[in-house]
């Protein structure tokens, strides 16, 4: 017996995703500093190895959403949150999704940690850049399915006043274990680690970009800020 037949399962070939190396350097804490030739070649080598084993998978549920004051109701679950209700205000539909780069990329990173810590940190940053890029790609593609509408910035459990605890509900709603191989540990970490789960509003008004932009963030002392 498996519920949630409506969840869509997505697999994306790694060959169609090119991990942006600039983001990799940013996640390595380099800000806008140009990498030297040694690091560039290491990053390129890591990208090749990572992409060879990565399995980009996602699962998605498109649901009506009702926002009343601070109450956000997706039908399958609801919660009260100031920040999420603000993010979704004016939206009547939302996408819930979870995406991952797969377990093999993680094993590669762990394997590498034994033989070369330097390469392992580059692979770690690469995994982060890869999953972010994958989410960006998915959101762009999904945005095209809702003509005249725009996607709000991705909102994940743990953002603002939404507790990380929501991961349980969100991932079980998405049946993410079966649909994309994403599970939660008891301390609410996603495994594989390079995974993202989020709620994305679909609205016609007042929308910001669904993609990443440091200028939208008020954490000015972030070491990854550019």
């Amino acid at each position: 017996m498996k519920a949630n037949g409506r969840v869509e399962s997505i697999e994306y070939p790694a060959s169609q995703l090119e991990v942006p190396l600039l983001s990799v350097y940013r996640y390595l804490g380099m800000g806008r500093t140009q990498p030297d030739a040694a690091l560039t070649s290491l990053a390129e080598q890591c990208a090749g190895e990572f992409q060879a084993v990565a399995r980009y998978r996602a699962c998605r549920l498109v649901l009506p959403v009702a926002v009343k004051g601070e109450l956000v109701d997706f039908g399958v679950f609801s919660l009260s949150s100031k920040s999420l209700s603000k993010n979704l205000s004016g939206c009547r539909q939302a996408i819930l999704f979870a995406a991952t780069t797969g377990a093999e990329g993680e094993r590669l990173q762990k394997r590498t940690a034994i033989t070369s810590p330097a390469k392992a940190v580059v692979l770690d940053a690469l995994g982060t850049a890869a999953i972010e890029h994958f989410c960006d790609t998915l959101c762009r593609r999904w945005a095209a399915q809702f003509p005249g509408q725009r996607l709000r910035p991705r909102f994940s459990p743990g953002y603002g006043d939404v507790p990380l605890e929501l991961q349980k509900t969100l991932l079980s709603c998405l049946d993410s274990h079966r649909k994309a191989g994403i599970t939660l540990t008891q301390s609410l970490l996603m495994v594989p680690q390079k995974s993202v789960s989020a709620m994305v509003g679909i609205g016609s008004t007042g929308c910001e970009t669904a993609l990443h932009d440091c200028q939208l963030c008020d954490k000015t002392d972030c070491q990854f800020r550019i």
Partner: protein
Amino acid sequence: MNVLDCIGQGIFFLDGGTGTLLQERGLAPGELPELWNLSHPGEITAVGKAYYEAGSHAVCTNTFGANALKFDGNEGRPTVEAVVTAAVSCLQTARSSAVGGQAHKFIALDVGPLGRLMAPLGDLAFEEAVELFAQVIRAGAKAGADLVLIETMNDCYETKAAVLAAKENCDLPVFVSNVYDENGQLMSGASPEAMVAMLEGLRADVIGLNCSLGPRQMLELLPRFTACSSTPLLVKPNAGLPRPEQGHTVFDVGPEEFTQVMEEMVGRGARVVGGCCGTTPEYIRELVAAASGIAPLPVTQKSRSVISSYTRAISFGKAPVLIGERINPTGKKRFKEALRARDMGYVLKEGLDQQEQGVHVLDVNVGLPEIDEPAMLVDCVRELQGVCDLPLQLDTSNPMAMERAMRIYNGKPMVNSVNGSAESMDAVFPLVKKYGGLVVCLTLDEGGIPETAEDRFAVAKRIARRAAEYGIGVHDLIFDPLALTISSDSAAAQVTLDTIPLIREGLGACCSLGVSNISFGLPHRDFITATFFTMALSRGLDAAILNPYSTEMMKAYHSYLALAGMDPNCSSYIAFAQNLTVETASSAPAALGQRPPSREGLQGAIIRGLQEDAAHLAREALATIEPLTLINEQIVPALDVVGQGFENKTVFLPQLLMSAEAAKAAFEVVREAMPATQGSGPAVVLATVKGDIHDIGKNIVKALMENYGYRVIDLGRDVPAQRVAQAALDHDVRLVGLSALMTTTVPAMAQTIALLRQQCPGCKVVVGGAVLTQEYADQIGADRYAKNAMETVRYAGLVFAR
């Protein structure tokens, strides 16, 4: 008639999907279907009855998600036992009230995945998983289920836990079905061949695949199963692929097309058939009508000698299999040191390096008189299979170590070894029968090693007979005709070589050899060993345990493959030979040396992150400089330059670590030259706290601390507070470093600190990790918050300077 007899007689029909049927009957989205066993037994019974009447031999209980993670008996939730018992009871009613259908109707206890990922990637411990499954199985068997159907498993390791739980807690037949993608892989990466190897080893009664794919896609995968499986095959596809339509999910394959493809599937060897998501009693009715009359293909014995890892199977008997012998402390000072210090990184690196050299299997031997071998072997196997996808050969003479390692091994292992003595066979064969394995059988017995080939063959035959009594086929035995040194007996090699064809032809079994012994006591041993290896291969040797770093051995292997016609276009030989030329011809450093050299010599090599140069220059320097002087005046100052650069943001993390790796390479060289007493600086304990499985930050700190001469006791990830305190006590450390990445695991860090305060009051605690701040660190009572690895090193300097 019992289930297996019924399968023996013809096509066996299972049920179809239930999700959509229950939704039609009012199950709300998000509602746990298993609760309906108790709240809506009539509906559950009606669905079961519909399947029995449609012609299903077995219908699955509504227990897919019934486990104690969801049903724990707390806060109004029912217990697993209550849910499972009610589910079986619904089907008992359905069975007795069904009109028509099969003469024999069975109840399949449905066991689905737990929804959490197994360690080491996830946090579900193997034995915890076994126990969770055991609860379901005990309840189901007690309530009256006729068989266990473990289904929709997408992880090889979790599947093993479920099968063991079933085998240990009931006598019912066990059916196992996994979810494959179009490429024929589980989510966790396993191939059908690997799954069949492991599941036949565990003595599953029916093996197969369900869910995710439609019938046509499964039809394409079927030949991979029929080629290797000697067990009846189960196929339970979805009704094609789902697509959303007006808020509902519809599947694109109707009953007619479904039946048509399933008929073909039966014609090609599927024996146990049904449907998964999107299929209904109508699908099953049509399938039964069409396929009942088809004479099933016989299930044939494939007799493959095969082992597996969590992703792949390796079979013996065709191309020779190389087994790397280097994970073994015998005669290796550094390896012994690593084992005593529980330096897993060293052991793992030995495994990965051998994989790089091209071995197919890793022998794992960690026996040392002064260590707890069962615990160590289990740890090594667990860690190795977490990062390395080569199958393992478990090498121990300690039966308890063997059993514990076989139990937690993720696949079907190679077992090293049994011999012809009653004691050995009585210890090893029951384990192989229970857990599965390909056993290395040494052709010796109580009387010692026979001197002639005929006598060794006689021992082999005796071993095979005894194995058969345990139900272990000869294909699960691989015989070692024993290489003894020719330096003491010039006929030794001939006896060994003559035994190989006797066993291969006389028993139809494979042979493996530890080849190195042959040259013991002779100069340039590799020359003799490699030639002996070639001779053994030409007599039919199937596998060898060898040192893959020996160029002579690898030359022999690649040349043999090319000469024996096993290397099309000589391509693997050419690749090997070309690499060999490059390696020997060029000692140019890797292309990482682009940073301008601010210093020359060893310091420059470390600053620029050139590992090979650093090792080489350290070796040169040792000719004239004392080891400690070299460390203090060359290595540490170079690291300081890089460390300062990192703090000033002119050097970044990867570069810092490249330098760390270069320094480590230099250290390894210096260490060999140092008396053991001088080698180690003060000890520190590092751990990622309980509940947290992120360890990259901790690993960076470890790399740097080691560089600065600290003896790092790395406890790994997800470490309980008590283990941290115990390690701090055992090693009498003055500094403990703790890492946590998530807010959810900071409480575990606080508990660990509290326990340390209590049990090791003199010990300082430095903390770090993504969510930590000075404020947090103060709150939980840490001595110091370190923003990055360099800060930790600096703080350690302060602690130990006092």
